[in-house]
Amino acid sequence: MKRIFYFFIFALIVPLHLLGDEETTKKLTYGGFVYYQFGQIVKSEDPTGAIGGSQQYDKGWDQHVNFRLTLDAAPSPSVRIIGGGEFGIATFANGHANGTSVLTAFSLKEAQGIYTVGDYKMPLFQAALGYFPYKYNAPANNFGEYFFSYRANAYSPYIINDFDNCKARLLGLRLSSSVAIPSQSFKFDGLLTSELPVASGVETFKSVGDYTLSFLVDDKLFKCIDIGAGISWYKLLSLDQTQTNPYDATQVVDKNDSLVLLSNGDTLRLTQQSTKLMLHVSIDLKKFLPDGFASLLSKDDGILYTEEAILGLKNYGKYYDDILKRIPVMVGFNVPCFNAVDFLSVEMEYFGWNGSLLIIPGNPTPTFTDDGYLSQQMFRWSLFSQKTIAKGFAVKGIIGKDHFRTIDAGGSVTKSESLRGNDNWHYVVRFMYSF
């Protein structure tokens, strides 16, 4: 793997500095980052790693060194091509026998072509095709972004948080359009995306590849209020029904444990397919402050934001009997720091799901076994902060009880959570140089 890394360096990075030709410089730019990160699960529900593995022991030390390079080409004013990959090394050590491991990996992070009519950031029409990052809730720093399966799912539920990566990565087609008028801008996105595995170590809801259709709208008002909503038909287009809706999926029973029958007499079975709704709102409270006071604050200070989603509109018998239990609610606030740091966000989440969130399952059947954490897992919290030390160099950190999952060097989260108990928490610190 090291040799691939060196080849990558020599083949692309070193010659890039030779792009002295002005015409070439206009067409191709590059960027990326290098970071060193360490973190620790201070107290978890899985102190011996029996479920999550040796990477999730209490006090286990987790280090990452990652390097990403992104190339951005603009062969014409209306076309842009962005591609990038990331190489990482991860080490885990927990002081227990056989409790250390080292992972190295390379992964593709972006490969998309974008065609734009109009302004790139506020296009009249824009079409993107490929593999791309997507974020619809700008203020959300850790929780939220529930809309795509990359972050949350309906049947059966899971939520994923990934430090400093509060977005989804999607494969497929995005069509966008926007309109800007004084005091308001409106944006519409339509996406047809192919489902990807969301965690390593899991077959991840067989039927990776199925297509999901999603629509999102976003309205910015008076430069201080941002309201957005979306609807998503998860796995609307199935490539293989035996995987999307397996015949051996759990039969749905009602509260009396009687089979729920379809109109044709067949028994109703659980499915991965679902319809999700999402709403997010943010308010920049600085706009309501006197100008003199507001100027003392950084641009991210004083933003209050929230996001809610319905993870599956449809109830299925006793397994999914209450839609309110499938609505995660996130509230966040960027505490004013008067430029001491770039931002300090406090976020809280309530998710009333009464089944286990321990492991990302491989099928739509939920687990209701009470391992003592079902009632404790509903509330989550995190503090996330960033401080730019010098141009391109920043320090970021998080502390909290969130849906933390250890990640491998390639950036894939593992299948199990470990912070569900009331006294569980972890922290991560990252030193990053961006260019």
Binding site: I4, D21, I81, F106, G113, L171, L196, P246
Partner: protein, 449 residues
């Protein structure tokens, strides 16, 4: 998360790593030289396709309706120094997703996703003369694509996309060329005549590491006729003769009476080594017209072309498995259907190669591993494909294919690493389109610069 095949990489590492170092030295030497230009190029594409019908015998691994989609990034840097030295390096990254319906006896299908990193090109070249594009002599070294038949869009290019013993043929969607490692000397001593000599090292097919010597010639007669021929001495120099001609009990040559064939006192064994011949021709009807339009409709650059290629994959016959030259003699004919610039290319290609023993199960340990008397021989001989390509400008293009060709599923972006992937012996390197009713399709959308 990465899927780079370690075996292939080891074989190419010296050449690939040498070239950037050469590049850096040259850069240092000509640091202030204004005659150095570096041009980036690359592309991103999204592709989706399906194996609609496959041979029954492959249902255990690759069932009908298998869905294949991928997102790929290709990045390349092309440097030219004082118009004589060219250095090209490139890499491709991608993710490949396969969705497979249930195999025989299973209730549920499977899905998989693989991240891939592969070298695209890594070569240095020196061109004599003032024009590097039309150089009287050019010497290149490294890992590079090579295409001798400009007309072929899917089938053909047999000289390097095939094996002799056993005979097999490779097709790659929208990549009708070979990828070679070694030395390439090309010359255009007179206008319209191209001569190529290649001394290449085998990186994808067993026996790895052996050197082949090949000669290819091509001539264009005005704008009407383009013909050429080639010869390749496959595995001429062996790094391990025991691998080129395995002396194992399974590899002994028996005659039709079951007697061991001997060479003097020695037992004869099948060998991977062989000599391949190739001939091709293309005829462009537009060259006979003194107009770029027909009946008032504009003609595309590729319209109205008929092309042909044939090859002999191993000139020597061996008893039992390789006793008929006709079993190793593919013939391809293609026609670029006139679309009057609606498409850049719409080609229909047909191929026939008599099949006695199957081409689809190639194990690779010795030349006859995996051979079965092929009950599908009659149907497997004929292949067809329809290929289209359209570039919209601004670097956006689409391409598509439908057909029954030598499609091979792999976990690689192209079959080149996968055909002999140690993880795919016998199954994933197999052809899947053998019966008349077998076919597949794929559609690709590309942004390139």
């Amino acid at each position: 998360m990465y899927g780079f095949r370690e075996g292939n990489y080891k074989r190419m590492k010296k050449t690939i790593f040498m070239l950037p170092a050469i590049f850096l030295c040259l850069r240092a030497a000509f640091a202030a030289d204004p005659d150095i230009s570096v041009t980036p190029s690359g592309s991103v594409y999204y592709q989706a396709g399906q194996l609609v019908n496959t041979t029954l015998t492959s249902q255990d691994a690759w069932p009908d309706k298998t869905w294949d989609q991928r997102a790929v990034l290709k990045a390349q840097l092309n440097a030219e120094i004082r118009k004589h030295v060219q250095i090209n390096v490139g890499i491709e990254f991608g993710m490949l997703i396969l969705v497979q319906p249930p195999v025989t006896g299973a209730a549920q299908g499977t899905t998989s996703m693989t991240n891939i990193v592969d070298p695209l090109i890594a070569q240095g070249a020196y061109s004599f003369g003032d024009d590097s594009q039309n150089s009287p002599l050019k010497i290149a070294l490294g890992y590079f694509p090579f295409k001798y038949d400009a007309s072929a869009n899917n089938m053909g290019e047999y000289l390097f996309r095939s094996g002799a013993y056993p005979p097999f043929i490779i097709n790659t969607f929208d990549d009708c060329q070979a990828r070679l490692l070694g030395l390439h000397v090309s010359s255009s001593p007179i206008e319209n005549l191209n001569l190529d000599m290649l001394f290449t090292n085998e990186t994808f097919f067993k026996p790895w590491g052996d050197y082949s010597l090949s000669f290819v010639a091509g001539y264009k007669l005005k704008n009407v006729l383009d013909f050429g021929a080639g010869i390749s001495f496959k595995d001429l120099l062996s790094v391990d003769p025991a691998l080129r001609t395995p002396k194992t009990s399974k590899n002994i040559i028996y005659d039709d009476n079951g007697n061991v064939v001997t060479n003097g006192a020695d037992t004869s064994y099948y060998t991977f080594q062989g000599t391949k011949l190739m001939a091709r021709a293309s005829f462009d009807f537009k060259g006979l017209l003194n107009s770029s339009a027909l009946f008032g409709l504009p003609m595309g650059a590729n319209d109205w072309k008929v092309y042909f290629e044939s090859a002999i994959l191993g000139t020597t016959n061996y008893p039992r498995y390789f006793e008929n030259l006709s079993d190793r003699w593919p013939v391809m004919i293609g026609f670029d259907v006139p679309t009057f610039t609606i498409f850049d290319v719409l080609s229909l290609e047909l191929e026939y190669c008599h099949v006695k023993y199957d081409h689809y199960s190639f194990n690779g340990t010795n030349p006859v591993d995996g051979f079965n008397a092929d009950s599908l021989a009659g149907e497997a001989g004929f292949r067809w494909s329809i290929f289209l390509n359209k570039t919209f400008g601004n670097g956006i293009g689409i391409s598509g294919i439908v057909g029954k060709d030598h499609f091979r599923p792999t976990f690689a972006i192209s079959p080149w690493p996968g055909i002999d992937n140690p993880l795919s012996q016998g199954t994933y390197g197999s052809e899947l389109l053998m019966e008349n009713s077998d076919w597949h399709y794929a559609l690709r959308m590309t942004y390139s610069f």
